[in-house]
Amino acid sequence: MSIANKAQSKRLLAVHGWSAVILGLFLYVVVLTGSVAVLSHEIGLWSGGGHGHHNVLEHPLHDRIVELVDPLDPAYHEEVSLFQNAAGSVFLFPHGHETTDEGSFVEKGVRYVLDPVSLEILQREEGTRSDFAPDHRSALDRFIVDLHVRLHAPNPWGLFATGILGFVMLSAAISGIILHKHLIKDLFVAPRLSGLLLNRRDRHILAGSWSLPFSFILAFTGAFFSFAGTIGLPIVAMAAFGGDQVKAFEAVRGTPAIEDERPAPIYDLDAMLAESKERVGSTPQFLTISNWGRADAKLTVFHGPAEGKIQGSNHVYNAATGAYEGVKPLFGEKPSLGSAVFAWVGPLHFGNFAGLMSKAIWVALGLATCYVTLTGLQLWTQRRHESAVWRSMSRAIPIVGYGTPLGLLGAAFAFFASYPGPNPAYWTAVGFIAASIASIIMGLTIRERTQLSRSYQGVLAAGLVLLPILRVTLAEGLWWPQLISQGSVIIITMDLLMLVCGLGCLAMVLGITFERAVAPRPAKQPLMQPAE
């Protein structure tokens, strides 16, 4: 039964189709890079070559942190955060919360980049988060994440763009549900081969129907993440806190009611971390200390999800006395519905709640959404196949469809080639752009479609197989025997993933595919009149 009449269906189809035509390829780039970004931690570890396996939170660090933080401006003692990225770099960031002249909420302080073993200062910068140079070792995974989150456009425009794309995906999911009258009945109908148009329609509808729940979830949570800081926080701050974003942020995060500004030295951090590790049964992932040097200082230690759960836990200690104060919810000081609901948003979007197992599933979900987007565009252009304009525009589908993964491959190649040097972040971006331009040139010069697809697949196959070799030879990465002795299973898994994907692309070049393709019908020829 349909809930839309003919006129409504026509409007919904126009919205569904035209939003995809105008923005669908951008959406594809965001979703594909998002699928890859699910593995950003693993990519950081892998591109770091295996040298970053030393977990700083498992070793003594109290004396060093006190030595670095105590002499700083007291304004930077409002919050001290410590975390280690996947590539192994350790970040210590004592900072304060401020509002800029334009009314934006910023964190301003000193950021140290420390060696994970010796805790020696590798870099020291003062300013706001957006001022800090990216970590060289993490250039590749940061590039992929930033491409997904904001298309590398400056804030807030990049976030607005990805937020709008989230809305496009949301409206496509909603209009898709309403338009598809026989959603349940068609769930088990495989794509038919009786015609190219019917085949394209069936492929799009089947993939779209099965991935509907997650398309909806990913669109909703993605749009939320993009708009929360750029529009959400300023609007709520304006409405409920007279424009004070710092007040709004601290109200949501939760600040203890009792303040005690008397000076007090920080209790033994190593002892508190050891206690937390024993209490929770896992190594902490990062920590923050609020009100450093005061009697009301608090240490909050974040642990990953326990077995079977999806959200991690924040454990709070009195940082002046070392006393354990309990678990703090994500927002506020007490458990609440808002905190409970928000705790689901991250795991639902990032898929990082059960290690590699959940991440692999989320990568597959992202790729399924990419398939829905591309098949939808193929369907649209196939329906208008008689028009030369639409036939030309359909060429953009393989150019972007294959060009984006090729661009990412180019970024990885450039990263490994430049990594021991001073500016891998710059060269990673150059690599992406160069590979993307090369893909566009290929797409415009190779006219025959099957040959074009096979060429793209061949380049992808070669590139993916070469990546693990480049990791070891160019970027001084560790090879498998050394990684096995360290217990670095993830890097070996990533190498194998590249090899399997490369072989998969090679299989496609050789014509071995999961689904049979329907040969495109040539454009209509003029009717031949029989000779009189």
Binding site: A7, R11, V15, F227, I231, I235, M238, A240
Partner: protein, 92 residues
């Protein structure tokens, strides 16, 4: 209303009007949503519901048969939200 007038009205409703309404609904949420045990639910849900605040008016604007009724609903909802937000200025 001419066909072009209807089309323009629908574009305005589904485009800028839906977005502005979503922002107004988000700004008004802290004034009616229960604060919860930790006094933050009304703030968190205001931001969390923003995609829904946009999707519902947008879909309604696309599907609406009677555009005058859709416009009236948009205006009324927007006005109620503005009145709720104006409370803040009265209270301060």
């Amino acid at each position: 209303m001419t066909w072009n007038g209807r089309l323009i009205a629908r574009w305005v409703l589904a485009g800028p009007a839906a977005f502005v309404l979503a922002i107004l609904l988000m700004a008004a949420t802290p004034f009616w949503f229960p604060k919860g045990a930790s006094n933050i639910d009304h703030l968190v849900f205001a931001i969390f519901l923003f995609p829904a605040y946009w999707a519902i008016p947008f879909t309604f604007a696309v599907m609406a048969e009677k555009l005058w009724r859709a416009s009236a609903i948009f205006l009324a909802t927007g006005l109620i939200s503005v009145l709720m937000i104006a409370q803040m200025f009265n209270q301060t």
